[in-house]
Amino acid sequence: MSDSTRKLNHVVIVPCSGIGKTYGTVSREAAYDVVEELRPDRSKLVALSMLVLGDEQARASVATNLVVTIDGCKLACATKMVQESGGQVARDFAVLDVYRNHRQFKPRGIAVLNEGGQQLARVLAEEIATVVDDVTDPSPEGGQNA
């Protein structure tokens, strides 16, 4: 299997690390939904903080896989850090943009999201899952080379 094919077996998800911020929590909840429920075989989570700390395994993971970033604010820390780590961003999501398209899901809360926040995270997760489907190998062999 060539390197280019190997990259299509997994997508790395890097969410915002905005602890104590509602939109940061939405980004992380969406990431958990993707890697734990929606596409567990074809996605894996890398914590932004590990990239910031220069963790070698985290940097290697983003450098050798396509990455989906989820940013909680316009600073776009997740996207910038992935790019600085040598990663290729397949798609960058901004929680604010998703909310603008789904105003009925108003997120509030920090440690625990309100119902709107949970629903917004789910909508975002489903959009990310679509990207994962687009860029990964759907064959049974896909996702076996984590």
């Binding site: 604010l96 909310y99 603008r100």
Partner: protein, 149 residues
């Protein structure tokens, strides 16, 4: 070209445009011939975060000094702002509907909120802060905010 007063508080840089007046909430009012253009200060937009939605009273609405003129929803808060003057809203910035992030990107120019035909501007102007007075007030508020971080 607009000139600014500028200060750095912690890692944040705040600008105050000198060619307009401000109410205590940080709503600016800029005389333009017979009209007054209004918007939010740089400090207000930075303190409240990225704007998700902006709802402005519609064109034709008569507003009094201190009336609610706009509500913005940001990633942090929902906040209502008071009109800095009495008059009639002649025009609402289309960006408030289509791209309210203009408030964050360019609060003193492209991010304006509304154009108002004033009723008693000469009288009400004296109740507003000039740029220097708002600048001093804003610095105090900014320093208090950073203490909370």
């Amino acid at each position: 070209m607009t000139e600014f007063l500028e200060t750095t508080v912690d890692k944040f840089i705040f600008k105050v445009a000198v060619d307009r007046y401000y109410n205590s909430e940080g709503v600016w009012a800029k005389p333009e011939e017979e009209m007054i253009r209004i918007g939010l200060s740089d400090f207000v937009q930075q303190r409240n975060g990225d704007v998700a939605f902006a709802e402005v009273k519609p064109e034709g609405t008569a507003i009094a000094l201190g009336d609610e003129v706009a509500v913005i929803e940001t990633i942090k808060v929902d906040i209502a702002f008071s009109s800095p003057l009495t008059g009639t809203i002649i025009e609402v910035n289309p960006a408030m509907e289509e791209a309210p992030e203009a408030i964050n990107q360019d609060p003193y120019d492209q991010g304006w909120i509304a154009l108002v035909k004033p009723v008693a501007w000469e009288v009400e102007r004296s109740q507003l802060l000039d740029a220097q007075a708002y600048f001093e007030r804003m610095k105090v508020e900014a320093e208090e905010e950073t203490k909370k971080l």
